[in-house]
């Protein structure tokens, strides 16, 4: 195992609170200089994992390496190199946002005022308002500015965009990409598929405290089918006998179906005989990947799965 090239390396992580098992064999890796997505539904153990990475909770009998160190014993030294945005940002109600940013930045090392002011502008945040008067999104921005203004090597972000509007989400994405360009590593937990799909190089999906799937986005896509939609001149054409075509739906001239990625070439060759006028292929979304893992659970709870 080459721990040096990994910003975060966790194997078989376990953690219990009393009799309740929160994490049960969780694996998580973040390559240096990459953005890693960390996906899972609420209560699946994302925040618990992140707190262990920060040395706020103690791991049970596992080796957890963060930037080559032990997050529990080397917390003080490691935290100089890590910036953190909590999922639920609580601030001191009678201090201003600017004061909170300075206090949090100072605790990690120092305040870079130029960077701070630039970020305040990008996120359109008024630092002279009392935190009491901030909305959830604005409190989130305070934590983001404090974290991004640092020159930390590793950014750990726990659902950082909850409460942000789409314009601010775009600003956030731009900042994260810049961080990657600067060679920093990012761990981004989320339950928003589009966000992870949009930003991340690798993804780890967890469920009930266990890693169920992990890899690069490209690798994970191989597990899924591509959705293809074609328009055919011949409305009587029947695609159902073509090997590899699944979930076929016909709507006038339009035919929509899914293909497992290894069958794609074969299906396209067959399709040529039907003289399609237009073809749209949609890559599988993480949403679909996600639903496959939780599909059984959701179905059992009476939620329909598309």
């Amino acid at each position: 195992m080459t721990t040096t090239s990994l910003a975060v390396d966790v194997v078989g992580l376990r953690k219990s609170f009393g009799r309740q098992r929160a994490l049960d064999g969780l694996d998580l890796r973040v390559e240096t200089g990459q953005i890693a997505g960390f996906l899972g539904p609420n209560g699946s153990g994302k925040s618990t994992t992140i707190r262990i990475l920060l040395g706020l909770l103690r791991a049970e009998a596992t080796t957890v390496r963060v930037l080559g160190g032990d997050p529990w014993n080397d917390a003080v030294a490691l935290h100089r190199r890590i910036a953190y945005v909590p999922g639920d940002v609580n601030l001191w109600p009678n201090l201003t946002g600017g004061q909170a940013i300075d206090i949090l930045s100072r605790l990690r090392g120092g305040v870079n005022t130029t960077r701070r002011d630039e970020l305040l502008q990008r996120f359109d945040l008024d630092p002279s308002k009392k935190a009491r008067a901030y909305s959830k999104g604005n409190r989130q921005k305070v934590a983001l500015v404090a974290a991004l203004a640092s020159d930390a090597e590793l950014l750990i972000l726990d659902e950082p965009t909850s409460g942000l509007d789409p314009i601010m989400e775009a600003a956030f994405s731009a900042c994260i990409r810049e961080a990657r360009t600067e060679g920093r590593s990012v761990l981004l937990s989320s339950h928003i598929f589009a966000e992870v799909e949009n930003l991340c190089d690798t993804v780890t999906i967890i469920r009930l405290g266990k890693t169920v799937e992990s890899g690069t986005l490209a690798e994970l896509r191989h597990l899924r089918r591509t959705t293809i939609s074609v328009i055919l001149d011949d409305t009587t054409a029947d695609l159902s006998p073509v090997p590899g075509v699944n979930d076929l739906a016909m709507d006038g001239q339009r035919a929509t179906f899914t293909v497992a990625d290894p069958d794609l070439g074969l299906v396209l060759a067959e399709l040529a005989h039907f003289k399609p006028r237009a073809l749209v292929s949609t890559p599988p979304s993480l949403e679909e990947l996600f639903l496959r893992h939780y599909g059984t659970e959701l179905a059992a709870n009476g939620v329909s799965v598309p």
């Binding site: 920060l54 706020l56 917390a75 935290h79 940002v89 206090i103 100072r106 008067a133």
Partner: protein
């Protein structure tokens, strides 16, 4: 709407009412025990009219009757408590609901713009009147003269109603519940101080004209068990109605959620000092610390100036002698020693509250991003806990010096300043033991820390003050943090107890801090 508010608040209303009304029989019984005969009361009446009594509770009148003494002892406490209770209740159902968006939810239904507000005023107004009626009934049952009891109840209810109007207006002017409560508290405080100045300025039992500017002064002028006047009730109730009407008018003109007074912007960057854990703790707790110090100074001034009068009065009473003067030492020294210890109790309350702020930060989730910074747990918690350590030392010094100056001035004895300073400061290790229990709890049982720490504090207070009255074994009464400390100037100063207390405090602090550093962070979900 009235029923809805009652259902949300019935327990709160009941507790306030029981506390307020319950004080009457308690104080009545204690005063009857203290002044059993006509002669005792006349003796009291002759010494009651001191400046500090006038400033704190108003000019005494009819102090030779039990009713008059009852008013003197408890009326001002009841009046101020009821004023605060009324304000908090009005704000809770008014501005606080609006701030949290609950009013928005209600008003989007079929409900008049003022229905919820007016229902709130009616419920709290009804509460004031009922408390007044209950006080009348309880006082008359003591038994005290009925007409005096009626005026007593009416004066308190009238004052409550007036501050209902004040807090209604405050709730419309400010845009936060904190602001509304703060503004109402300023009004109550101003009314109290204006009246205190007027009463100090008085001749005989008549306060000066300045008291006539304060609503508390008006209510006092009803003089229950004295002249039993009714006319001051008119401006109180009239003021209440006018202020409520103004509040409703403002509500009709403003947007939901807005106030008339703007929310001020603050500094957009933090100062260097504030970025340290100690500086941040000081900044966050500065209002509360100012309050604690104000309480210590006021108490010390009052205690110091009345100590010798109290000692003369109580020396003959066997019940009080048991508390104040153990082993037949002089009553004055006994009283002074007890008062110095009361100051140490205030300092103990402060350290518990201040030390618990570490847990408050942790429970609220604010500690997490701080500890994700490059700072060890011990450094972080230790920096914050420096505040109760230093604060309590200053409090004991200030309390001792002020009490010593006030007492020394009344005795023409400047040496008392140094004597009482020493008597006060030797409580520091004991106070730090109480703080140590809180730190220990935070480290070992974080979620139970607030309740267990306050329970320990309450036990210390009860045993220290009343232990001998309950005839508890000396093993218990002699070994609380405060009673283990030599009680100067009655007792003899010895070093061993101080060393033992210091050692116990050090162990509790060490275990608490180390456990805090080695355990999981426990946030309240």
């Amino acid at each position: 709407m009235v029923r809805f508010i009652l259902r949300r608040n019935w327990l709160r209303l009941l507790i306030w009412a029981v506390v307020l009304v319950g004080m009457i029989p308690l104080v009545y019984e204690s005063q009857r025990a203290a002044f059993p005969t006509e002669a005792d009361r006349e003796a009291y009446a002759s010494i009651a009219n001191t400046p500090s009594v006038a400033a704190l509770t108003g000019t005494p009148y009819a102090a030779d009757t039990l009713g008059g003494i009852l008013v003197l002892k408890i009326w001002m406490t009841l009046a101020v408590t009821l004023a605060f209770a009324t304000s908090f209740l009005v704000t809770r159902n008014g501005r606080a609901d609006e701030e949290d968006g609950r009013t928005e939810l209600l008003r989007s239904n079929v409900l008049g713009r003022h229905a919820y507000t007016v229902a709130n005023y009616l419920v709290v107004g009804g509460f004031d009147i009922l408390v007044g009626a209950a006080i009348t009934a309880v006082a008359a049952a003591m038994p005290l003269p009925f007409d005096g009891s009626l005026v007593l109840g009416a004066s308190l209810a009238g004052l409550g109603l007036f501050f209902l109007g004040v807090s209604a207006a405050c709730g419309q002017l400010t845009s936060t519940s904190r602001g509304a409560n703060g503004l109402a508290a300023v009004v109550i405080g101003t009314a109290f101080v204006v009246r205190a100045i007027g009463d100090l300025d008085g001749t005989g039992t008549t306060p000066g004209w300045i008291s006539g500017l304060s609503p508390i002064g008006w209510a006092q002028q009803m003089r229950a068990f004295g002249e039993n006047r009714w006319w001051p009730l008119a401006p109180l109730v009239g003021g209440a109605i006018t202020l409520c009407a103004i509040a409703v008018r403002i509500e009709a003109r403003r947007d939901l959620g807005a106030g008339v007074l703007p929310d001020r912007p603050g500094p957009s960057a933090a100062g260097r000092f504030m970025m340290t854990p100690f500086g941040l703790a000081l900044r966050l707790q500065r209002a509360s610390i100012a309050g604690w110090f104000a309480a210590v100074v006021v108490m010390a001034l009052l205690y110091g100036s009345v100590a010798s009068a109290m000692a003369n009065l109580l020396g003959s009473n066997p019940v009080f002698a048991a508390v104040f003067g153990p082993n037949g030492s002089s009553a004055t020294k006994g009283v002074i020693a007890l008062l110095v210890m009361l100051n140490a109790i205030v300092a103990s309350a402060f350290v518990v509250e201040s030390a618990l702020q570490v847990r408050v930060e942790e429970a609220s989730g604010r500690a997490e991003p701080q500890l994700a910074g490059s700072i060890s747990r011990i450094q972080w918690a230790g920096g914050r806990l420096l505040l109760p350590i230093i604060g309590s030392a200053l409090m004991l010094v200030v309390g001792g010096v002020v009490m010593g100056s006030a007492y020394g001035a009344s005795q023409n004895d400047a040496a008392q300043v140094w004597a009482l300073l020493c008597a006060s400061v030797i409580y520091w290790p004991g106070v730090l033991v109480t703080a140590g229990v809180t730190v220990f709890m935070i480290g070992v049982v974080p979620r139970l820390a607030p309740s267990l720490s306050w329970a320990f504090f309450a036990a210390v207070v009860i045993i220290s003050v009343f232990g001998e009255l309950f005839s508890l074994p000396t093993l218990i009464t002699g070994n609380t943090p405060l009673t283990a400390t030599p009680r100067l100037p009655v007792g003899q100063f010895t070093m061993p107890p101080i060393l033992v207390l210091t050692a116990v405090a050090a162990v509790l602090w060490a275990i608490g801090l180390v456990r805090f550093a080695r355990r999981d962070l426990a946030q309240d979900a």
